[in-house]
Amino acid sequence: MIKEINDFASLFGSSLKLDEELTVRKQNRIFLIDETLKKTAPKNFFYAGTYLGRIVKGKLYPSFELLTMIARKKANEIILDKKTEWLFICGRDVFKQGIVKTIGPSRKGEHVLVLNDHDECLGYGRILCDLEKTKSGLAVKNILDIGDFLRREKQT
């Protein structure tokens, strides 16, 4: 479990130190719980503590809390302007003109966390072109954004 999470964090040039004892796998979902919750939570819980993501066929699909945890560390990030922030949350890819700041490597194929101007993590994506060399056009492919909460509401 920790390996999948560390591998995922490394996509952003980051690393997380999680206590294996406090990570719990429920079917394909992974949770991080604290000592108090570990003592109190029923063993057959549906959800507990901090949801980190789910693993399907060996691939980690991260939670937003996990992305936020990575964002708090040193990680590859882009920061968006207000208009682009909303477009990203609506599931759209990011145009170069909407990126106000880049932190860390910005080469094609790299993964980046996507933040707003309050340093809040909105999701993540994959860089489509070398950001330093590009002036305009599509720059980052949206992989996951917090608009997912709205999409889930529609499903439930």
């Binding site: 109190t40 549906f46 507990a48 809390e65 936020t68 707003n116 909105l122």
Partner: protein, 295 residues
């Protein structure tokens, strides 16, 4: 025994003249995730006009919004939640919740669970129960959106709470109820007195089962969004006589609970409960209970 005239006549006998109300949308600022004043500033910058709800610390009525308040970055980042004003009251009635163990016995869809976690600043532990898998999923989404970290969500009927093998300092019983016409336009056409009686029985069963998991010095907050005395004062009167519970004084919005219902005199301490007739908010009933005789 159903229909609008039947229920309106009951309300009149209980001291309330029915009138149609238009509920204002309300939000609650999640203070654990950001400074409330910062969140308010961001919302005002978006063009949202808010009015402070006078009886709530972090509650605001939405006076004007040119967009859905459930579709902003701030909402999706868990900086606030959409929660009707009266529904924000129950979780605030515990004397203190930080670092406590809390049972939220009927938690879905999770508005009060996230509020409790916010009041606890993610300290202590909440065990939140519900029996509906689909609603548990919705609650889990709320927990994730609001960055809740101290909660375990379990698929369990509140009447089987003793299976948790745990005792709690605080128990929130926001029990399943018949609802009220202010929050449900089709209410009068749907509800009958049999529904009310069935819900009242279920609520008693939940009270009886969960009180067994309460610490000796623990507190229960009981709430419904029903106006029917069978689900409120009559149930609490029953709990005083049968479960060795007492009603504590609370300082909150609403009128005193009824001590006489359709000619039946109830325990005088029922006046410590709060009955909220629809008006500024939807209908609600709340009270705080402790074990044993008054001190």
């Amino acid at each position: 025994m159903s229909g609008k005239a039947f229920f309106i006549d009951r309300y009149r006998k209980l001291g309330w003249e029915h009138s149609t109300t238009r509920l204002k949308q309300a939000i609650r600022i999640n203070s654990a995730n950001a400074k409330p004043e910062k969140t308010l500033e961001r919302l005002r910058n978006l063009g949202l006009k808010l009015e402070k709800t006078p009886f709530l610390e972090n509650g605001y009525w939405v006076e004007e919004a040119k967009f859905s308040v459930g579709a902003t970055s701030e909402y999706l980042l868990g900086l606030y939640s959409i929660q009707e004003a009266a529904a924000q009251i129950p979780a605030t009635l515990f004397t203190d919740v930080k670092s406590k163990s809390v049972l939220d016995a009927c938690s879905a869809p999770g508005g009060k669970t996230t509020q409790l976690a916010d009041l606890m600043h993610n300290t202590g532990v909440i065990v939140a129960l519900d029996i509906d898998r689909r609603r548990l999923t919705a609650t889990a989404n709320h927990l994730e959106r609001c960055h809740v970290k101290n909660t375990a969500l379990c698929e369990l009927d509140a009447r089987e709470a003793s299976r948790l093998n745990a005792n709690f300092n605080r128990i929130l019983l926001d029990v399943p109820c018949s609802g009220n016409p202010a929050a449900d336009k089709g209410w009068f056409n749907r509800r009958t007195i049999k529904d009310v009686q069935r819900n009242a029985r279920l609520q008693k069963e939940i009270l009886a089962a969960t009180v067994k998991t309460l610490d000796d010095n623990g507190e229960i907050v009981y709430s419904t969004c029903s106006l029917e005395p069978e689900e409120n004062e009559l149930n609490i009167d029953w709990a005083i006589r049968n479960l060795n519970l007492r009603v504590e004084k609370i300082d909150c919005y609403g009128q005193e609970g009824l001590t006489n219902v359709f000619g039946k005199t109830l325990d005088a301490s029922l006046s410590n409960c709060r009955r909220i007739w629809p008006g500024q908010t939807q209908g609600f009933f709340v009270c705080r209970l402790k074990k044993g005789e008054p001190t």
